[in-house]
Symmetry: C2
Subunit: 319 residues, 2 copies
């Protein structure tokens, strides 16, 4: 049954998804994938818009995948409470009029094996037994540091499930949000290193009116925690202003952010200033940089970031 305008086709089966995408390509369409974990907000919908506008040369068939990937959660993390609302998600996607198909697989893994990495373990492996999934993709340098320090299985799980989605949907284009900055860079590197024929688009962060970066996890913030969490964006804006005004000392800028977050009642996981592509820490902001923050407010871990472009040979920063 062909999808009508505004009504995405809902596909649950891997083989059906692949066949659908191959038909679209055979019709001359560009297939653009937006991988999500559902509980969609305006940030996700901006990814859909970016996907729909991704080809200047012809029609685009946008596929949104909704799958809460167990292999990127550690057993100590919030897989069990990760929010979901499939009916609401489908309504929002239909309302865009830009989505051709929604891929909602019930499970993307065979049962996890008793073997595995021996070190860090994901929810997938914790639940598993018997003869099962054992292939993992690691982007070994970029997956370290930042979120990789406190979430040791996260990027392994992300890279692996994204490769699976790429092989099922076989898209020409895939769109990722720059709010998950390290994830976006990990995927870009994986695509380059493994020769996937896919253009990766990094889409800008979408914020609430008060500056809070949109996140499915924001729903777990109390009113008071949400107010405190505004310190993230505030501290990033101040940091960027300081950099633009000539302070290129990363440590000073990081100290100021940590102080702002801590005074607001946040518990800092990390504040780092890194080079945009390599994610290598910068002592001086003398090249394109990004300030990355992760902090807990109550039981909710939030991440955010802000890019600072530089093009002054004397190391001064500009937008």
């Amino acid at each position: 049954m062909a999808a009508v305008a505004g009504e995405p086709e809902v596909i649950r089966d891997k083989a059906a998804m692949r066949a659908w995408a191959r038909r679209r390509r055979a019709e001359g369409k560009t297939v653009a994938l937006v991988p999500t974990m559902g509980f969609l907000h305006d940030g996700h919908l901006s990814l859909v818009s970016a996907a729909a506008a991704a080809s200047a040369t012809g029609p685009v068939a946008v596929v949104v995948s909704i799958y809460v990937n167990p292999s990127q959660f550690a057993p100590t993390e919030d897989l069990a409470t990760y929010p979901s609302d499939l009916a609401g998600d489908l309504r929002k996607l239909a309302a865009t009029g830009a989505v051709a198909a929604v891929f909602c697989p019930p499970d993307l893994y065979v049962r996890a094996g008793a073997g595995g990495s021996g070190g860090a373990v994901s929810c997938l492996e914790e639940a598993g037994c018997g003869d099962g999934h054992e292939t993992w993709i690691r982007v070994e340098r970029l997956e370290k540091g930042l979120c990789g320090s406190s979430r040791p299985v996260f990027f392994r799980g992300v890279a692996t499930v994204v490769a699976k989605l790429f092989n099922i949907v076989e898209p020409d284009i895939a769109v990722f949000g720059k709010k998950d900055y390290q994830q976006w860079r990990v995927i870009c590197r994986m695509v380059r290193d493994l020769d996937f024929a896919i253009d990766i688009i990094g889409s800008e962060i979408v914020r609430e009116a008060d500056g809070l970066a949109m996140s499915s996890r924001n729903v777990h913030l109390s009113h008071e925690e949400r107010e405190k969490a505004l310190s993230i964006h505030r501290s990033l804006v101040n940091a960027k202003t300081a950099a633009l005004n000539g302070n290129n000392h990363s440590q000073q800028i990081k100290d100021q952010i940590v102080q702002t977050l801590t005074e607001a009642g946040g518990q800092v996981d990390y504040v780092e200033i890194v080079e945009q592509e390599s994610l290598v820490a910068l002592e001086r902001i003398d090249r394109p940089a990004v300030i990355c923050v992760a902090a807990w407010f109550g039981k909710v871990r939030l991440i955010d970031n802000m890019e600072i472009q530089t093009h002054h040979p004397d190391g001064g920063a500009s937008i």
Copy 2:
């Protein structure tokens, strides 16, 4: 320029290779890939035959890749002396009349990064510096044991380069020799776990008239070493006969093989009897098993194996 019958088109560029394969598929052909490291012998040519016969429903475009993959060699191994003869390879492939294209990339990796696994290191990483390849695929259970014990980077390198070739050629079918039994199983598992839309064919071992399994490395054997190396096949045949005659005690059978190889002057790396799909060691040959052997004759490390099918509930073995 279209290939004429018997004259494979030689392609060196990744993008050109992908475009070529996409054109063949658009013409309704099945694309079948045979990955090799060159210095082709009749074993490789049997893979080509299997590829050419792989589709019962329509024409097949066979692509043979020739690439000596540095990332599957440790710095202590024989990358520098691995034999090559591209002109001879192209003649042999043309003579089959079954090969449509030969993919000979000069280099499949960006320069290797200074980062990496921290543990085992391949020739690729040893040579590397700067900003480069850092994405690795591991099939974590199957890559352990057998050849994985003495060659710690081998299957990581194989899985990664095969994924790259899959993403460049985008074949419908790929053919691997069962002589590299563990490699074949690693690739099958990777394809399943990462949802590659590729059928993997395992092709039977091709032997010289005297029983030696064909291998590009056989060329490095002296006449005397070659004679001694016949003990591999002889011991495997005797082991299979023993199993078929009702001896299902793996340890007894393995001991006999080790004795035969050692008496012939070989240095045993391993002799294992494992379950065919999981490669889990078997104490009793009471299910489909494979006997795997690796041994050194002089400076040449040879591998071989023999499958034993069982379908007797009492644990007896049969062909």
